[in-house]
Symmetry: C2
DNA sequence: TGTACATCAGTGAACGCGCGTTCACTGATGTAC
DNA sequence: TGTACATCAGTGAACGCGCGTTCACTGATGTAC
């Protein structure tokens, strides 16, 4: 391998970005968080293992940096799905579909974000803070608008948001972790579940 | 430690059972599948590592034996919840609650069963076979009865069963993997989600 | 009842592996004069 | 413009660890005579 050229002064972010990219690629390709080792990442970047420590305090920080980026991507995907859409209920539905689509398109990233142990999380990465400030917070806003518009049976926005998350998470994570199960047609199944849950959320047509 | 007494002839199943029990305990206590190593299990049982190989071909077989047992327990829990209940719809609802309860009571076992990679599975443990023959198969039967009884809007039993599974899996797995998230009251949340989905499954009261 | 033998559950030592992390270092880049 | 020096990104070797798995073995249990 051609020796990589040394970074210029103040160019430290270049290697950092390369490390992050390599870690993500490794995660995707291997489909296994434990394959994202300091040594494997270093090798993928073409650098020795100790240099990783110039950019990340330890392995945890590296993994969490990868997660942080992915949380950002998820939020972006969901916001992108509702650009120009103003009806609250339609925004909610579109976000649900975007969530599932994001997960199925990026299964390994999804896995790390939502099905790994919460234990080894550094303080600055608490679930509350990270999720509350991005996708989940944005969803709450839409739900409150939908409540105001009389589009929901329940008026408890935190409850509705949590339930919706569980719904789309159930679809996504089960399809990811049981890909060989004899599911019915995948697209129809997703539609069935989303539609069933949506029906239950809407107010009775004839009023209470 | 007192040296364990050697097994009598034909008493080979005793150690096998002890190994399984130790593996399960290790899984629960550590909350981490990777902590269930051959060596750790052997030490917990009070035996040397190579003796594990007298009862399991390799580490995979051991892990899967643990899973197999847990799948059985889940099926038992769900069947137990509907003893003496004949109304199909009520059986379905009770099974859903039993599923969630099983998962929340046995979070680490649940995690291994439903959120780990499907890759490293031996043939005899294919998802299709294992699940189809127990809990999932039993649920299908109830759903078909409910369809016959006119209790469901959809008439596609595989679709309804898959959707229900996703629903209860979403509740269970998200509560397990994000225990620190600022959820609303847990019991209310579970009720809200189950009730919302149930509403969507039932036929319109006024007929189509 | 007593003895020689076969069985086989479990042992102890060793293999090679990849891991996270540390440490003193090197040497190209940039700067001060 | 030229030289001596400081900086600091990245290196190379080493640490101790726990892992899965193998192998030749031991010695208590059971059996045949």
């Amino acid at each position: 391998m051609a020796p990589r050229s040394r970074a210029r002064r103040g160019d430290g972010l270049r290697l950092r970005a390369e490390i992050l990219a390599a870690a993500e690629r490794l995660l995707i390709d291997s489909g296994d968080e434990s394959a994202v080792s300091i040594r494997a990442v270093a090798q993928a970047v073409g650098v020795t293992a100790p240099s990783i420590y110039l950019h990340f305090a330890d392995r945890n920080e590296l993994i969490f940096a990868v997660c942080e980026e992915q949380f950002g991507h998820l939020d972006e995907a969901m916001e992108h799905a509702v650009v120009g859409v103003s009806d609250p209920w339609e925004r909610i539905e579109r976000k649900g579909r975007a969530y599932v689509e994001f997960g199925l398109t990026n299964p390994e990233q999804y896995r790390v974000l939502f099905t790994s142990r919460a234990d080894c999380t550094p303080d600055r990465f608490l679930d509350e803070r990270l999720i509350a400030t991005s996708a989940f917070g944005h969803l709450i806003a839409d739900i409150e608008a939908a409540i105001t518009a009389g589009q929901l049976r329940s008026h408890d926005s935190a409850m509705v948001a949590s339930g919706l998350w569980m719904m789309v998470h159930g679809i996504t994570s089960l399809l990811i972790s049981k890909p060989d199960f004899p599911w019915p047609d995948r697209a129809q199944l997703i539609e069935h579940v989303l539609h069933t849950y949506s029906s239950g959320l809407r107010p009775d047509p004839a009023g209470r």
